[in-house]
Amino acid sequence: MTHIAAADAGDALVIAGRRFASRLLLGTGGYPNQQVMLDSLAAAQPAMATVSIRRISLEGYAESIVDLVGGRYPLLPNTAGCATVRDAVMTAQLAREALETDWVKLELIGDRETLYPDVEQLLRATEELVKDGFTVLPYCNDDPVSCRKLADAGAAAVMPLGSPIGSGLGIVNTYAIERICATSSVPVILDAGIGTASDAAQAMELGCDGVLLNTAVAKAHDPRRMAAAMRAAVIAGRDARLAGRIPKRTQAEPSSPQLGLIGG
């Protein structure tokens, strides 16, 4: 049997010259426990696993997440919760020291209610971090103009939101995401808002190069199963994108022959 699947056809995700076998990025926050997180990662087989950087007095897991996860998946530190360029840059620099990576998921939050990015500060932080040698993946608005400006500022990928972080609302502006994918000079990773597998598949069908999600898996009734579903959905969505969907029609078009009906 010839198995034609995106994941097997040399169709790798490439960011800043680095190739990834998977187009799914998975977060490591908010799981019921450590084992479920590890099992979910194993089921998802993500390209990268995101982590946050926090003061050491906040003891979550007894073991360091670096020891638990670091050897198995590349870790992508984020600047989650940062509201100023200074804090975001400092967090990225601490992450580089802690994890020995110059890759960073840049988050600059402009509003606590929606956790929407602050575009102006995001641009400044991107410029600053690129100058400092970082590979910057900014979490950004679903706006083709900000995405273009971030790419021009040196972002290695852009990561527009589907809907607010943790909301599970899916992709609320499919037009904008499709436009970003069609015009972006760097890879597009749909980040935030994914609620279930069909949302991840839709992101890929719209032309995204990858999907980053966390809550949809971590807070699912069965995170392991949802992680497997997300992996399958991203592959299915990518395949569907490459295969090319049929045009939408306003009327039915029978797929069975019109001639030879009995009783005629």
């Binding site: 995101t50 050491i56 007095s57 997440i65 870790l75 020291e97």
Partner: protein, 68 residues
């Protein structure tokens, strides 16, 4: 009043002479995943032993946690 430093947002007595000693006193094994900044500048782990602390220093000690 004795000299103080600010560690992860809390004032405390300056009891450690260096970054390495501060970490050791707090029982932090700095071998993997720990990063330190002093006064807004990252202090590389190779310099912890020689990096002297002074009154008024603001120290951040961080490590990776779960996150999205």
């Amino acid at each position: 009043m004795s000299a103080t430093i600010r560690v992860n947002g809390r004032d405390e007595e300056l009891a450690a002479a260096t970054v390495a000693e501060l970490l050791r006193r707090r029982g932090i094994d700095g071998s993997r995943g720990v990063a330190v900044a002093v006064n807004g500048v990252v202090a590389p782990s190779r310099n912890w032993v020689s990096h002297a602390l002074a009154a008024g220093d603001e120290v951040e000690i961080v490590r990776p946690f779960g996150g999205g």
